[in-house]
């Protein structure tokens, strides 16, 4: 019975891996990785009994913790990265417009830009961090 269960869980892990390889969007892949992780926890618990070493259960709990935190961290990273890329594109577009319209006057765009980039960048990271923890609280 233990072995049947272990084989079924392993097959599910293989299916999750297939979804992670196929998955068209990043979120499909994160979903598959999350599933793979929770199935690992189950597999560890089953193997603890199959092998007769119940200290595997400690590993199962630690793995559950790491999997949860890891998935949240990846989601945070993806979200933050997307925001960052959008900001970057907007800034590049704005700069292109500025240079196109005011080609003769580089003074307002030139020196004011580097500090603006710095200030944009830091709050964006902090904001991403707090919003992830807010998600975790809320749900």
């Amino acid at each position: 019975m233990l072995l049947v269960t272990a084989v079924a869980i392993l097959a599910t892990m293989a299916l999750a891996l297939a979804r992670a390889i196929l998955g068209p969007s990043v979120y499909d892949r994160v979903l598959a990785v999350n599933m793979f992780g929770t199935k690992t926890v189950l597999l560890l618990a089953v193997m603890a009994f199959a092998v007769g070493r119940t200290d595997f259960l400690d590993l199962a709990l630690a793995y559950a913790l790491i999997n949860f935190i890891g998935v949240l961290a990846v989601l945070w990273f993806v979200k933050d990265n997307q925001q960052h890329q959008q900001q970057h594109q907007q800034r590049r577009r704005a700069r292109r417009d500025a240079t196109a319209s005011a080609a003769g006057d580089p003074a307002p765009t030139g020196p004011s830009h580097p500090p603006a980039v710095q200030q944009d960048h830091l709050p964006a990271v902090a904001e991403g961090g707090s919003s992830v923890s807010k998600d975790a609280d809320k749900s």
Binding site: V4, I9, M13, Y27, A32, K39, L65, Q82
Partner: protein, 114 residues
């Protein structure tokens, strides 16, 4: 007595494994992202309950049962939370499910009284 307990725990585990396997199949063959989460959540709800419940019956009253219960409780709290975080992140990034016209984070009009 012991034989019956073994049979029951084996049945629980195998039926749990069935749910887990069906969830894996669901996550692979559902048509779009949000329905795939439904498939994956099949592996996160009754599957662990049955598999870990079956293991608990095998171990009887001991420290191992307590640890299994703690693992189960932890999974039951974190897996829906992770699913929600994933779905919400996808929604906020602009991946809209079919038939959803609203804006995420916006309240209902009649909900204003709260």
């Amino acid at each position: 007595m012991n034989g019956i307990l073994d049979i029951v725990s084996g049945l629980l585990m195998v039926s749990g494994a069935l749910f887990v396997l069906a969830g894996g199949i669901g996550a692979l063959r559902m048509p779009d992202f949000y329905t795939r989460i439904h498939g994956a959540s099949l592996t996160d709800s009754l599957g662990p309950v049955l598999v870990l419940g079956g293991l608990m019956l095998q171990s009887g009253l001991s420290l191992v049962t307590l640890k299994l219960a703690a693992v189960l409780l932890f999974l039951m709290i974190t897996s829906p939370t992770a699913s929600y975080a994933l779905a919400n992140a996808a929604l906020l990034s602009g991946l809209r499910p079919a038939g959803y016209a609203g804006t995420p984070g916006e309240q209902l009009e009649k909900g204003e009284r709260s």
